[in-house]
Every structure is written in structure tokens, then in C-alpha cells.
Amino acid sequence: MPFPLSHLLHFTPELILIVGFVVLMIVDLIRPLRRAAGILALVILAAAGVVAMFGWPGTSQTIFATYSHDPFALFFKVFFCLATIVAVLFSLASFKTDAEYYLLLVGSALGMSLLSGAHDLILLFLTIEMVSIPSYILAGVYRGQRSSGEAALKYVLYGAVSTGVMLFGMSLLYGLTGSTDFDLIRNHFLQGSSSPITLFLAMLLILAGIGYKVAMVPFHFWCPDVYEGAPTPITAFFSVAPKAAGFAALLRLTVTLLPRGWEAGWDWPMLFTLASAATMTLGNLAAIAQQNLKRLLAYSSIAHAGYLLMGFAAASDLGFQAVLFYLIVYLFMNYGAFFVVDIVSRKEGSELLRDFRGLGYRAPYVAAAFSIFLFSLVGLPPLAGFIGKFYLFGALIDQGMVPLAVIGVLNSVVSLWYYVKIIREMFLRDPLKPVPLLTGVGAKVLLLALMIPIFVMGVYWSPIIAVAGEAFQLVLP
């Protein structure tokens, strides 16, 4: 099959990232330039993101027989570039590090961008690995620190097992269908010639592998330890970008390979319903007892994976759009929350709940920002988190899935408890050390930049939901 070179044009964002990756590698070798590596990474990512944005929404087509070029992929390319940009900014504000750190972030962004378009089992596997391997190294980037090394090792071990499981599922699928191409596999499914049980097993194993990426219960065990041990900017990055990448893969797999009403198949929405209920309930209940804020936010991010899975349980266009919308909102509020934790923990030396005592009087601006991020995570109007949940619940009610919706809203109430615990610590209690906690201007601006979208999307979200709708409509072959 001939591949017209013009198709390469669709790869411009990835090409920029590849070139940038190489440039960064060279920069790392030239001592005087090393300091500029962070800025350079920003430029590269911004360029890739802008190029991807200009392609929006474009037309859907399959290129090189393995890759979907569609609004869905473009949406996620922009999303990943944005998420990585915030991570770089976050790191620049947070700590000094080598050029290779930024190199790895760019590499990870490249992997995620490719993943968003993967239309083939092998490419999917390769891109997932391309995201994972930089992540393993990034988790251990504090070379001297035990906890960072421990986080990295745990991440690698769990990751290796889940990758193996996923690969096993993929090989089963290949053996059953004789193809790695999503379209061909789908056709095979629709013909219904293979035994449903085996297909179910194959898909289940693949989903388990991805479930690990998004920290879905029962594949979440790595999450709190890794999040706690890794440097905070990296934790924030993990909780947003690779998680969103997992959801991107999950979305594409669900929509192309598990169409609703596929009679010979399994009741996938039911499975997602169970996974969603278990994930959010466990995440929220476990978060209540946490004293370390990074751990608390780790469990909270597990809970949010559960909320996102509600969209899969609804398995309707509305549900998937809600997932895309929620991911955008989640990016801002979760980065924001982790950023505040980072600001405080760098001054206090640890990120325990009591380090935040009286923060409202020591650093009113930071504390107010933190409250906004937390209330948005709870899902209180008029903040964006509410709108995100509103769409997810709306999708469920639309499908008549009231029990899961009830579990979801009760979880919101539970989550209020531990988020408010932080707010109580900040505002209702007097500080242990009544000295102001000073923050740089850059950090304040970054906080503001993360806060504004939360307010704007809380009161006027039409454009964003339109983008999410457009990104989703055209994904089907």
C-alpha cells in the first residue's frame, strides 16, 4: 500500500516534538545552554500545540494504515501539549533540574500525542510504552532520595506486570482475529465468528492494562506510593497527562471495539459501572484518612478516575463528551491543587496536613486559590468542576442509570469531607508559626492562570463543551 508523503504533514506536531527532543538532547551536551532547557521545552511544546490547534477540527482519515488523523486525536494532542507545558512551568517555578528532565517530559508528550491517534494494536502498545518509560525515570528524578527511587521502582514493577497483561490480551486478540488493525478487528467482532468468552477475556486483559494507567480499582495500588514519592511537579504531571492518555486510549478502544448494542459481546457498560462505582468509592473513602496531602490528592485522583468512568458506563455520546470536558477541567483544578501543595511543602519541608494550618492567615492568596481548586474538585458551582460532574451525571440520568448516579453524588458528599478538612486547617485554625509565607510573583501568576479557566468554565462553558462534542462526534470510522 503506497503512503503519500503528504500524510506526513498531519504529523507536524509530532515532528516538531521529535525535532525538539533531539535539540534538547544536544542542548544537554552544551553546558552554557543547559539552563535554557526549560524555556526551550516550553517553546517546543507550545509550537506543537499551536500547530495541532491550527489543524482543528480537520477531517477524519486513517494514515499509514495504523494511525487515525481525526479531531479526537487533535483534541488530545493539544491537551497533552498544554498539560506538559503546565508541568514545565510548574517545574521551572519549583526546582532546578537537569536538561534531561525536560527532555523526558517532551518525550512523554510525544508518546502521548502518538497514542491519541493509534489505530492499531501494535502502535497502541508502543505508544503506551513510550509514555510509560519516561514516566518511570521521571518518578525517580530525585536521584539522592530514597522515596523517589522507591516510587520509581514501584512504578516500574507494577507497570511491567500490567504491560505484560495487556500484551497478552493483545496477542489473544490478534490470534482470534488475525489482525492488529482496529477496523478489521471491529468487523470481525461484528461478524461474531469467535467465541465471545475468549474475546471477552482478550478485551478484559487489554482494559486491565489501561486500567492500570488510569488508576482504576483494582489496579490502583501503585498510585498513592508513586504519587507520594515522586517530586510534586511530576506527581501533578502523572495525575493529569498519562492518566488522560490512558483515558484517550480507553475511549478509542471502547468506541471502536466495543460498540453499544454489540450483541455477541459482553455487557461492557455494566463492567464500567462496577469499575466506576468501586473506583470512586474506594478513592474517596481512602482519602479521608490521609494526613499527607500528596497521598490525599493521589486518592482523590483515583476517585476522579471513577467519576470519569461514569461517562464510559453511560456509553453514550453525551457520556463520552462529558469525559472529554471533565478531562479539561480536571487538568486545571488538579494542577492547581498540586501546585499549592508544592509551594507550601517547599517552604515547610513536608506536605502534611498540619503544615497547612492557618495558611489562610500566612498566605491568603495561595490559600484562597487552594480553596477554589478544592471546591472545584468537590464539584460546587459556580466552578468548572461542577459543570464537569453535571455533564457526567446528566449522561447517566439520560441513560436511566440512576443507581450509579446516586453512588456518584453520594461520593461527592464524601469527598467534601476530606477536601474541607484541608480548608478547615487553612482557615479555621490559627497558624502554628504566625509568619507570612511568601510566594514569588511567577507562582502567583501561574496560580491565577489556572484559576481563571475554572471560573470561566464554571459560568460560560459553551465553547468548551462544543469543542468536546466536536472532538467526539467524528471519532467513529
Binding site: L380, F390, G394, I397, D398, V402, L428, I465
Partner: protein, 524 residues
């Protein structure tokens, strides 16, 4: 009007935090402006327009599209049901700014939160789009949490989180019902789903009536629990004594004066016209719980040693009258209920302000010192006594407020309570008769409290208590005047809501009849 306080909040943010008087007067200015607008609206309000489910019946409408893709609108307006509440909100918010003069900690934050709260309250009363209503409803939560939690009494953390969790639990239930209603309501013009409350009330016209008795009953109770928490109805009332007692004076006033009304207002605005048949079916439950509230609240109030707790429990009791009246579907009952909402707002506001006055001076507010009081020799002794000698004006105003709460003829509380009973009796004879005994208990705890506080001999310790000052009187006199005025001449408020409420009655009855529910029903 709704967003003026937010403008004020933004202005406040730019005032340096040590310019206390500038901050206070800015808050006064903005709440005053809201009050003036409310008064003008009140004056120009045409009471013959009925509102409820017909957009033409609403006045001062703002109706613009907000999120067109989801048919969410910015749709606000007032009718005879919301107008008294809007007036009450504007008045109490203004007066409470003065009652907050003594706040010493983080003054700027306090007034910011207060103004945000006012926006939430106003918005809830005027919103006619369910989504908008929900947003305003939730906006009230945050400032309330901080106002109780940061500026409250010793157990404030507990009280604040309890309030927050209870209310949030209720509102998420409302969220689900809201979504269900949305997906079953069509705009008659465009045919798309809509959050417009009026269209939700007119579901049957579009043939979108939600089917299934069980489902309708579930929806009714999900909404009802949400609103009952706010009222607060027994057994969801336990947040109230804690929140009231721990909150600073002005916030107790707002809580009792306005937030409690949200519950009954929302039942009348949402449950009644949107689920008329289920409302009719379960009216007995509302009436029954109203009776329980009256009697239980009164007995609890009698047992209290803390004056503020006594007032808090008396609120529970008085909100029972509202529930009893509104479940009767008679003109007198429903008018009495809404009038009682208004009157309770003014009377309880007075009581909480007065409790605040004595607490500011004596730093305690025990009628009788509790048995675990730290100073052993004071345990079981009267907290005050003979205060009428030391603070005659204070004693006079307090007695006025107490008598109004008791329902003494000539004061506004009497009219609304009498209307509630007169209206409720034809429908719920047994419940009404039992409830009337609640009045006796009310008289009991109030007279007993007056006796122990103001009569008798003044202990040596309190001989230096200063008399109530001008600022405090300034907050009380308008309320006292309203209480007396409405007691002898209630028609300004009654005539304002009469047409709307009678229309609401007929809407509910028509809807229920159309669904085959012919009259109220008693299971036993």
C-alpha cells in the same frame, strides 16, 4: 439587584485590609442599595399578577439565554411568592451589616463572604431557571461554611462542617432530580429540553409527564429531603441548633431569617407545581411532620438552658406552622404559611439580635448555668435575672419579640399562626388540634424564659451591664415596627401574595386532578 453584592465584594477586595471603617461602609452602601432597589420593586409590584407557571404573570423579568446548547437560561423574575422573601432578604442583610460591626477578626474576609451570601440568597429567590436556582442554592453554602467556621463560637468547626455536609447531601439529591426533570421537559417553542422551571411545571401540556407513581414519589422525596434539611424538618434538624449557636449573631439572623425560608419556599416553588399529584398524595406527610416540628421543637426549646439554643429550637417549632399551613391547600392555610415565613424572619431576627446584645455584654447567655459549668458555685443557678431593672429598654424590646414569637394578638406572629391553623383545620383536623397544644408549650417556655431573665432580683455581677446602644437599637427598631404594623394591619404583605398563592393552590389541584388524585389523602 442580584449581583450588586458581588460588585461590592469586588470593590471590597481592593480596599486595604486595615481600613476597617471603609470596608464596613462599603458593605453598608451595597446592601443599602439592594434594599432601596427591593423597596422600589416592592412599591411597583402589581399583586394581581399571579406568576407561578406563567411567564406573563411574573414581574421584573430578566430572560436571556446563557448556555444555548443545553437550553440553560438566565431567567429571573418575581411573583407574589418570592416578593416578600426578596424584601425580607434585602432588609435583614442590610440590618445584619450593622449587627456585624463588632466583628474583629479578618473583617475584610467577613464582609466579602457576607456579600457573596447575599447574592446567593437573592438569586435563589428570584431564579426561575432550575439550573440557575441550583447554582445560587450552592453559592450560599461556601460563604456560610466560612462565616460559621471562621467567625463562630468555640465549637464552630464541628457546626460548620455539619451544616455543610447536611446541606450538600440534600443538594446533590436535588441535582439528580433536576437532571431527570430536564430530560423530561420540552420547550414548547423549540422542542428541546429545557431547565426553565415554568416549562417543568407545564410538563403535562407537552405530554412529557414523567410516568410511574414510584418514580414520581422518589423524585418528590429526593427534593423534599433536600428542602426539609433546610427548613429544618425533624429528623433533619440536628445541624440547626449547632449552627445557630456557634454562628456569630448576624449570621444566626441570616440563617434563621432567610435560609430556613429557602426550604419551604423551594417546596412551594418546585415540589408543588412540578409534582402536583405527588404533593397532594403526600400532603399528609408534610402536615404530619409540621405537627411534629411544632410540638417537638417547642418541647426541646423548653429544655434549653442556653438562650440562643432556645431561640434556635423555637425556629424549628415555628417552621412547623409553615409546613402545616402550606399542606392544607386552603387559601387561608397557604397564605398563612407564607406570611408566617415572613413574620418568622422578622421575629427570629429580632430574637437573635437581642441574644447577641446580651452576649456581647455578659459574654455568656445561659438562662440557667449548666450542670457542667466550669465555675462550680454557679452550676444550676440562674444566668441572669432582674435584667429589666438594669436594662429597661432592652427588656422591653426583648419582651416584644418574645410575645410576637408566642403569637400574642396585635403582633404579626398571631395573624400568621392563626391563619395557618384556620386554614389547616378543615383539611387536617387531628394534626391541627395537636399542634395547637404546641402553642401552649411555646407560651410556657417563653414566659418562663422572660421570668428567669428579666424578672426577679438582679445579681450583683450584672449591676454594671450597659443599656442597649444606638447601633443595636437601629437594627431592632425597623423589625419591631414591622412586627407591630403587620400585627394590626397585615394587608400590605397578605394582599401582595394572596392572588399568587391562591393561583398556586389551583394549579396544584388542577394538576393533581388531571393525574387522578382527587383530594388529599390520609393513610390512617
Amino acid at each position: 439587584m442580584t449581583f450588586l453584592p458581588v460588585v461590592g465584594l469586588v470593590v471590597l477586595l481592593f480596599i486595604p485590609r486595615d481600613r476597617l471603617n471603609a470596608i464596613r461602609w462599603t458593605a453598608v452602601f451595597f446592601t443599602g442599595l439592594v434594599l432601596i432597589i427591593a423597596v422600589v420593586t416592592w412599591a411597583r409590584f402589581d399583586p394581581s399578577q399571579t406568576g407561578i407557571n406563567d411567564e406573563r404573570g411574573f414581574q421584573f423579568i430578566d430572560h436571556v439565554s446563557w448556555i444555548p446548547a443545553f437550553n440553560i437560561e438566565y431567567f429571573v423574575g418575581v411573583d407574589g411568592l418570592s416578593m416578600p422573601m426578596v424584601g425580607l432578604t434585602a432588609l435583614l442583610a442590610f440590618l445584619c451589616i450593622f449587627a456585624s460591626w463588632g466583628i474583629a477578626k479578618a473583617v475584610k474576609g467577613y464582609f466579602c463572604m457576607f456579600l457573596l451570601l447575599e447574592t446567593g440568597m437573592m438569586g435563589t429567590f428570584v431564579a426561575l431557571d432550575f439550573f440557575l436556582f441550583y447554582v445560587f442554592w450552592e453559592i450560599m453554602l461556601l460563604p456560610m461554611y466560612f462565616l460559621i467556621g471562621v467567625w463562630g463560637g468555640p465549637r464552630r468547626e464541628y457546626a460548620a462542617i455539619k451544616f455543610f455536609l447536611y446541606t450538600l447531601f440534600g443538594s446533590v439529591l436535588m441535582l439528580l432530580v433536576m437532571l431527570a426533570l430536564y430530560l423530561n421537559t420540552r420547550d414548547p417553542v423549540t422542542g428541546g429540553h429545557t431547565f426553565n422551571m415554568l416549562h417543568m411545571m407545564n410538563q403535562s401540556l407537552q405530554g412529557d409527564w414523567i410516568k410511574g407513581d414510584t418514580l414520581r414519589a422518589l423524585m418528590f422525596f429526593a427534593l423534599f429531603v433536600c428542602f426539609a434539611i433546610k427548613i429544618p424538618m425533624v429528623p433533619f434538624h440536628t445541624w440547626l441548633p449547632d449552627a445557630h449557636v456557634e454562628a456569630p449573631t448576624a449570621i444566626s439572623v441570616i440563617l434563621a431569617g432567610i435560609l430556613l425560608k429557602m426550604g419551604t419556599y423551594a417546596i412551594l416553588r418546585i415540589n408543588y407545581p412540578m409534582l402536583p399529584d405527588t404533593t397532594m398524595q403526600f400532603a399528609w406527610f408534610i402536615a404530619f411532620m409540621g405537627m411534629v416540628n411544632i410540638v417537638y421543637g417547642a418541647f426541646c426549646a423548653m429544655a434549653q438552658t442556653d438562650l440562643k439554643r432556645l431561640v434556635a429550637y423555637s425556629s424549628i417549632s415555628h417552621m412547623g406552622f409553615v409546613m402545616l399551613g402550606m399542606s392544607s391547600f386552603t387559601p387561608a392555610g397557604i397564605n398563612g404559611a407564607v406570611f408566617q415565613m415572613f413574620n418568622h424572619g422578622t421575629i427570629t431576627a429580632m430574637l437573635f439580635l437581642l441574644v447577641g446584645v446580651i452576649y456581647d455584654r455578659a459574654h455568656h447567655r445561659y438562662i440557667v448555668y449548666p450542670k457542667d459549668y466550669p465555675e462550680v458555685e454557679l452550676r444550676g443557678k440562674l444566668g441572669f435575672g432582674g435584667l429589666a431593672n438594669q436594662m429597661p429598654i432592652y427588656g422591653g424590646v426583648f419582651s416584644l419579640a418574645f410575645f410576637a414569637a408566642m403569637g400574642l394578638p396585635g403582633l404579626s406572629g398571631f395573624i400568621s399562626e392563626a391563619l395557618c391553623f384556620v386554614g389547616a383545620f378543615p383539611t387536617w383536623q387531628a394534626f391541627t388540634i395537636i399542634s395547637v397544644f404546641g402553642i401552649v408549650v411555646t407560651a410556657g417556655y417563653i414566659l418562663w424564659a422572660i421570668q428567669r431573665l428579666f424578672l426577679g432580683t438582679l445579681p450583683e455581677r450584672w449591676k454594671t451591664l450597659p443599656e442597649i446602644n444606638g447601633r443595636e437599637l437601629f437594627t431592632l427598631i425597623p423589625l419591631g415596627a414591622i412586627v407591630i404594623l403587620l400585627g394590626v394591619y397585615p394587608s400590605p404583605v397578605l394582599s401582595m401574595m394572596n392572588d399568587t398563592l391562591n393561583y398556586l393552590n389551583s394549579v396544584v389541584e388542577a394538576g393533581a386532578h388531571a393525574a387522578g388524585v382527587m383530594s388529599v389523602w390520609l393513610p390512617f
